[in-house]
């Protein structure tokens, strides 16, 4: 029997990873320290620019007095409803636009025009139509989140491998079976990309809508803190929004990898 040469396991990859993580976090740390120092030595006007320590204190305050949670619930509701409805409507619209030539010809230009319209510019109209409450924000989120979904699913339908359709048809698949066994699985990675884009756009929509015409929510909290020169609270609000966005994106990315495991690059064996 031939003996196969086996090399000892190398730590090179692991070491490289640790090094780059260290490098990345030390830059952030350096930035925070210099910011804090600039503030402590009064090199900047504390009225305009807060400091990391004061931002943390403000964060603790809004957590303990319950105002953060209260605003989070409002913003969360707006996001969940708007995002949810965007998925429910956007998914079938995108699929149909991609799948049926006639529907694409009929509604494609209309949707392209809608997509080009800046949603936030319509906020005054939505306030007139739906009031200052939660509904006008939901509409903004919906309109922000729906287009990335539609576009991604439409593209998904155009990437379907014709050879696979050929095979399905040769085995006597009906149009519905072709759709279910080939079109839907093909669209899955695109759906995930669409969901990620839609989530970040939707989040942006929530904050913008609340900043421009809100009476509650994180965006309103940021806007109100800003207009009363509570810069530490502004930063605290921004931090919460950023953290939410990152968490959401990370979760969706993981979710996507799970469904993408049949693809060579991601699969782990």
């Amino acid at each position: 029997m031939r003996k196969v040469t086996v090399f000892p396991k190398s730590n090179e990859v692991k070491r490289e990873k640790i090094a780059s993580t260290l490098l990345g976090s030390s830059v952030i740390l350096l930035f925070l320290i210099s910011w804090e120092l600039l503030f402590q030595f009064r090199l900047v006007n504390p009225l305009f620019i807060s400091s990391p320590s004061r931002v943390v204190l403000a964060l603790i305050t809004i957590i303990t007095d319950g105002s953060l949670l209260q605003n989070l619930i409002i913003s969360g509701q707006e996001f969940v409803f708007g995002y949810g409805v965007a998925i429910l409507i956007g998914f079938p619209i995108g699929i149909m636009l991609g799948w049926f030539k006639l529907i694409r010809a009929a509604f494609g230009p209309f949707i392209a025009a809608m997509q080009a319209t800046p949603r936030i510019a319509l906020m005054p109209l939505f306030i007139i139509w739906f009031g200052l409450g939660i509904t006008s924000k939901i509409v903004i989120v919906l309109l922000s989140a729906i287009f990335p979904l539609i576009v991604n699913l439409q593209v998904a339908m155009s990437t379907i491998d014709n050879d696979l359709i050929h095979v399905a048809r040769a085995y006597g698949a009906s149009r519905w079976q072709v759709f279910r066994s080939i079109a839907l699985p093909t669209s899955l990675p695109f759906l995930i990309t669409g969901l990620r884009l839609a989530a970040s756009r939707g989040l942006l929509g929530v904050i913008m809508a609340e900043v421009f015409g809100g009476a509650a929510g994180i965006g309103y909290m940021i806007q109100y803190a800003g207009s009363t020169f509570q810069t530490d609270k502004v930063f605290a609000g921004v931090l919460v929004v950023a953290f939410t966005g990152i968490t959401l994106d990370f979760t969706l990315d993981r979710f996507g990898r799970y469904f993408d495991r049949w693809r060579g690059e991601v699969a782990v064996h």
């Binding site: 050929h166 085995y171 006597g172």
Partner: protein, 307 residues
């Protein structure tokens, strides 16, 4: 005898008519295989006709000129149960179109196609196609790719898996059911493709240049495997290829198509006894058939200016 056949079919090439050569030259000894195995050659002639094609004309719309061009011109062909028939011809001669029409994927303008005396109007479970590209569903594991055709016919997954199990073993894919297609080599993928078709247990198996996309070594190995497999299952097979050696090795009959529009130039019986081994490629007899086929193709290409 062989000379006579060559002469006849060369004449056929010149006068553009169909010649069916006699099969009585080589007396194959009676070979009896177990189960669904193949029967000796002469008895094939007594088998009922499985696939019958009559006066088939297939046209296609040339988008540039707007004219309907003829791809296949009045082809008549009967294939008996258990027969392995191969169509050879220059690339682009319309042989793949012909196969797709039998699969029900391409409409024909004239004539008829019958499987078991039932007229073919579209795709159906009585035929299964193995395409040149493996075209496996990349998100399905091997096991579920093999059962794909069965699932489309409405069979439940568990039942389909059970039915497909026999063919998984036959194409030596056992142990690979839980792999994704991208983890397999090209030859393995093509085996999955073959198993997918066989699992449907079709009346007629259609092979569209099944090994053309593989490298030369894998192709050679796959030819041997297909040979062994076909002799085991005794299916009625119609294959399209442009590899003459592949055609002779596997077939009971080789049909030569003219350059476009395709009609039958010659219908040559390959009475080499079965079971065959790939070693027969070195035999005088084998090379005789290769030459015969080649001369017909060459003659047509010269006349038709096909190349």
């Amino acid at each position: 005898m062989k000379e006579a056949i060559i002469e006849k079919s060369s004449v056929a090439a010149v006068v553009h008519s169909t010649v069916v050569t006699a099969a009585n030259g080589h007396a194959a000894p009676a070979v009896k295989l177990n189960g669904r195995g193949r029967e000796p050659l002469e008895s094939l002639a007594k088998h009922p006709v499985k696939l019958s094609i009559k006066d088939l004309v297939i046209g296609y719309l040339d988008k540039q000129s707007g004219h309907t061009m003829v791809a296949v011109d009045k082809v008549t062909l009967d294939i008996r149960e258990g027969e392995f028939v191969t169509i050879v011809g220059l690339s682009g001669c319309g042989k793949s179109t012909f196969l797709n029409a039998i699969a029900g994927l391409v409409k024909h303008q004239h004539g008829e196609i019958r499987v078991n005396d039932r007229i073919v109007t579209g795709p159906g479970m009585d035929r299964a196609v193995v395409f040149q590209k493996a075209s496996l569903l990349p998100w399905r594991k091997v096991g579920r790719n093999i059962t794909y055709g069965l699932e489309l016919s409405g069979m439940k997954q568990a039942a389909a898996r059970e039915k497909a199990g026999y063919y998984v073993n036959l194409v030596r894919l056992n142990g690979f059911e839980d792999h994704y297609p991208h983890q397999l080599s090209g030859g393995m993928q093509q085996r999955v493709n073959l198993a997918r078709a066989l699992a449907c247990d079709p009346e007629v198996l259609l092979l569209d240049e099944p090994f053309a996309a593989l490298d030369a070594i894998t192709r050679e190995l796959m030819q041997n495997e297909l040979l062994e497999l076909c002799e085991k299952v005794g299916k009625t097979v119609l294959m399209v290829t442009h590899q003459i050696d592949e055609a002779v090795l596997l077939s009971d009959r080789v049909i030569i198509f003219s350059s476009r529009p395709a009609y039958v130039l010659a219908d040559i019986r390959i009475p080499i006894e079965r079971p065959r081994k790939s070693l027969i490629k070195d035999s005088e007899e084998f090379r005789g058939f290769m030459n015969e086929i080649w001369r017909v193709i060459e003659g047509n290409a010269n006349i038709g200016g096909g190349i």
